[in-house]
Symmetry: C2
């Protein structure tokens, strides 16, 4: 049935029953959803009912890699992890790279579905077809690097690959992540879902191979892709050496690097403190995901003060923002140390930093006081305080407990009108782009099915000026609905579903992305697609994911942006004076819904659209 790419097997692990079953992957699911994010959304919608407690036993955690992962196609060892998010109440989905994703494939599975809740701390040990439940009582409380090493020692195999949570996930803080190797399934609190299931780790060792349907075709299709990679002016010349760090300088230059909880974007420009020239002084090599010739992940080593000697993989651009720009911290070594701590304790660098920036603004405004902070002077730029509070969040200590579930929950607890300073959409903290200077990107934040998420429909046209599918004015509103839909669908279809690295899309193959995915699919599997079919897979996934949110009760009112972005023009820099007015947002939303074929008033997908996408069965669940 499956000639390549897929094993056609889904492993279902039930923690309550402490058993596992292997079931077939329906061919239709493969065809319609490709893999990764597609499988995640499909199983999530079908199996996790509306109103399910995200931290209860009925939530499910779906690990899925794509058909290219484990083949000779570079940059494909990635996975999507999907569950209902405890942070947003919407779809929780995040992707990670490294080695774990491909190991899942080598073990023989296209997806792994975790169900139920173990009675006591447990880890799951998957060796090809063998699945064991092992006690994690003694691992509970352990940091992520140690957890992985101790499990490898315990199982007497240093080549096992492990996804695990740290204390933050155990303590079910809603911004906890999952760590595999040094990579993170970072956002939407999926680590808390693992914690709620008493699942400390998943250890995998696979000894199989991933079949390929047509090796000659694959050679040709891969050749097209690697040619595009070689021709990219940034991928190898720049990105291999610097990773995402260079984006600090670029976003500062165009005035959209958010600083001091978005109060000072453009006006306060920290490029000389934490820009790429400073960052490279800490570079000590790089790491690559399985099968990746780019090796973008920069290792940095802190040099000064109490942080000296701390190594981290990163901080990526988003963390330079969340522990740097948005908190006003200018100490590169403090940022490096915070990044490592986040990986070790297992929480999202982005949401945690943005939540602290929020608390910093409240502290500066007098809404939070020294009494609340336990004596900490939580001003913008205080890196010791930032590092202290980050640690406290993971353990729910002191003010950390107040902030541990992200900025929306913190604002609810604090009250006093603080919500208007909380920079989130649907509960997910904003990424590192002040979208007052990049309006399609803003519309994506408002409409992405995971909340404010730069990983869903990244507007590289606005941010990097890449004229695909066409040139755009980043401050314009007209046409941004259509563009955002395209950005979301192309990303989902060509990176998140086949689990290809998103950086490839942005930097090398964007012009040929749909064709490239179609060619690779035809070579690796026995499924055929036109480029339009590929794009439609993206549309299908976005529709089904959005339908999940609608079923959870989300409405057009949730597709919005923080008040500050809608009311306060940028005060300085290259985007000075710009903001997204409520009218502009409404105009973009109208266009977006119309393009999507959704009801413009409510944002609910129409029956026609769903049926067109083969999702007719969904309609009845959207009352």
């Amino acid at each position: 049935m499956y000639k390549g790419g897929y094993s056609g097997k889904v492993l279902r692990v039930n923690l309550t029953e402490q058993n596992s079953t292997v079931e077939d992957l329906p061919e239709e699911t493969a065809k319609d959803f490709i893999g990764g994010a597609g499988f995640g959304i499909k199983y999530l919608f079908d199996e996790v009912k509306g109103g399910t407690d995200a931290l209860g036993p009925d939530n499910k955690l779906i690990f899925a890699s794509g058909p290219f992962s484990g083949t000779t196609i570079p940059c494909a060892s990635r996975m999507a992890v999907t569950a209902k998010s405890p942070l947003t109440g919407a779809v929780g989905m995040a992707l990670s790279g490294g080695y774990f994703p491909v190991e899942l494939k080598f073990a023989g599975y296209d997806a792994l579905i975790i169900e139920g809740k173990a009675e006591a701390p447990t880890y799951v040990w998957i060796k090809d077809e063998e699945v064991k439940f092992r006690s994690a009582e003694k691992l509970w409380g352990m940091k992520t690097t140690d957890t992985q090493q101790i499990i490898k020692n315990e199982l007497h195999d240093q080549n096992i690959r492990i996804a695990c949570i740290g204390p933050a996930g155990e303590n079910q803080i809603k911004i906890a992540c999952i760590i595999n190797e040094w990579r993170a399934v970072g956002r939407k609190g999926l680590g808390a879902v693992m914690g709620s299931k008493n699942l400390k780790a998943i250890a995998i060792r696979g000894t199989g191979e991933v079949a390929v349907a047509d090796k000659d075709k694959l050679k040709a299709a891969r050749g097209e892709m690697t040619k595009a990679m070689k021709e990219s002016p940034v991928l190898y010349p720049n990105f291999s050496k610097l990773g995402t760090s260079m984006v600090v300088d670029h976003t500062c230059a165009i005035g959209i690097f958010p600083t001091k909880n978005f109060t000072a974007t453009g006006e306060y420009n920290p490029v000389d403190k934490i820009g790429v020239e400073v960052q490279v002084t800490r570079n000590v090599g790089s790491e690559a995901c399985y099968g990746c010739p780019v090796s973008c992940s920069q290792l940095k080593l802190a040099k000064t003060g109490p942080y000296a000697g701390v190594l981290t993989e990163g901080p990526e651009f988003e963390t330079m923002y969340s522990y740097g720009g948005v908190t006003g911290v200018e100490d590169i070594d403090a940022i490096i140390a915070a990044d490592r701590m986040a990986d070790e304790l297992g929480f999202d660098t982005m949401s945690s930093g943005v939540t602290i920036a929020f608390a910093m603004e409240l502290y500066e405004k007098g809404i939070l006081t020294k009494e609340d902070t336990g004596g900490l002077e939580l001003n913008f730029g205080n890196h010791e305080a930032m590092n202290t509070v980050l640690r406290q969040m993971a353990f729910r200590e002191g003010i950390g407990d107040l902030l541990a579930d992200g900025s929306r929950a913190a604002a609810e607890r604090i009250g006093k009108g603080s919500e208007k300073y909380a920079m989130h959409v649907k509960g997910l903290e904003l990424p590192a782009y002040d979208v007052r200077g990049a309006k399609a990107h803003g519309l994506n934040y408002a409409t992405s099915f995971t909340g404010a998420d730069h990983c869903r429909g990244y507007a590289f046209q606005e941010i990097f000026g890449i004229p695909v599918p066409h040139e755009v004015d980043r401050f314009a509103v007209e046409g941004k609905g259509k563009l955002t839909m395209w950005n979301q669908d192309i990303r989902t279809a060509t990176t998140d579903a086949p689990t290809m690295c998103a950086f490839l899309l942005d930097m090398a193959v964007v012009g040929i992305a749909a064709q490239n995915t179609a060619s690779l699919m035809e070579a690796v599997t026995d499924l055929t697609y036109t480029p339009d079919d590929v794009l439609q897979v993206g549309e299908r996934i976005n529709n089904l994911a959005h339908a999940f949110n609608v079923r959870e009760g989300l409405t057009r009112a949730d597709d919005t942006l923080p008040e500050r972005l809608l009311t306060e023009p940028l005060k300085g820099g290259a985007s000075k004076g710009h903001f997204i007015s409520r009218e502009e947002l409404d105009q973009m939303l109208d266009e977006y819904y119309a393009e999507r074929g959704w009801d413009v008033e409510t944002g609910v997908p129409t029956r026609e659209k769903l049926e067109e996408l083969g999702l007719g069965y969904v309609t009845d669940q959207l009352k």
Copy 2:
């Protein structure tokens, strides 16, 4: 020539020339010195001339495992590392377990001799017969766990075993250690020797096997040994579960657990704060060295305060003393965190803790002030201050720089009569036994060729009441010279040279140690020994090591104890009122030298004794 146990090959790596050679191990060296510590002392004496700068290129670093390592004999994956010590100026030798020692054997070498000095940070990569020099520029400044992981990633092999230094070794602090896996070549500053050579790490992967001369004989001899292990009332029933932690309670009970820089031993008894009952609350499993069924190494996880989530392998008893008793610190989690930090930054837990305890006493006496400490309140028991200063020592920051080279150097720098509070012998800080209540143990501290070292001639008769070779009164002086010689020789011959675990000797095979070693040697190799021959190997090594020290200018005056132990009786506890008077020390030394066949006035080995041991060539070098 060699039928088993030995490959007969010594790998010599020259960092200056960036080349390596393999040479034969002379059969006579194997016969006379067995391995491990024996080879270390032999090559050190013969190749490192008197007066060599310990931190200069002419010092050599000799890694040697024993003939049993890599065979089916349990508890034999250990190695001795030997060099001239920068801390003491005498023989620097320390042993470590783990996996690195056996990997050296599997790679085909009985010993590895590191010579010269690399121009720039380097690591050596040994894969069987292949030896490569690789840049460690980017590893410089990195902690030890990260260093090992990054090297494994870089060489694409997770099964490589690595010995490395941390920032402390790089900064050549004289109490820096070498770390392999989580084990330490802990004492005498051998990490600084690596640092002085610009050698960040040695990575080894061996795919060979260790031959055995007579498998039937081995089965029989090993059977004797494992029978003794099974019959031990402590080894499996107790030591497997608790490791060395139980010794805190025992030494507290007999009044010799040193507290507050030896000012309060017996009087202040912290057993309810840091004794075994508290320690086990942090236990989360154990780790074993290669081929060890005992698995004594207890993993502990800190639970509270800023230390929560820190895992460590340990703290061993000695560290419970150095970061606990002797500093007056009562916070188990602070001790756990300090232990991990020492492993990560790469310094000796013992010397560092005892040096801080010394500084604490000076601070309490007003000899050091807040000005000296940079504002820290360095009182006994201040665990935050202890952890801060420990970190500062590794980086030579603030008061850490003053203390970074151990207590003798610190006392010299501080002056003001502080030397009398510095608890060291020959510059090596005292281990965890207040020898005012264990006088043979005290004589061993005074005479051990490495300085105050519990690992050389451990007086288990006094400390645990084990009546081998006979019962003793721990407060008595008579007969302690002879006993100490036996303790030193049996330990050297049956554990340090064949590189067997010392705990086996103390806890299981002490009564049959020499016979057991003889039987195992005859089975594994083609060399034959009587038990007396075995003991004579110990004597030979001790003589040659002592001769090294004599050549370096050490005299009888250096075989002494800190003034406090010679003048202040214990103020409380089960050893109250006892001390070792100068007269008693002299009496024991006279007896010891006489038993050793050394000149009683000078402590120099006589020509007769050296010739008897086949070391006649040494005499001419001892003018």
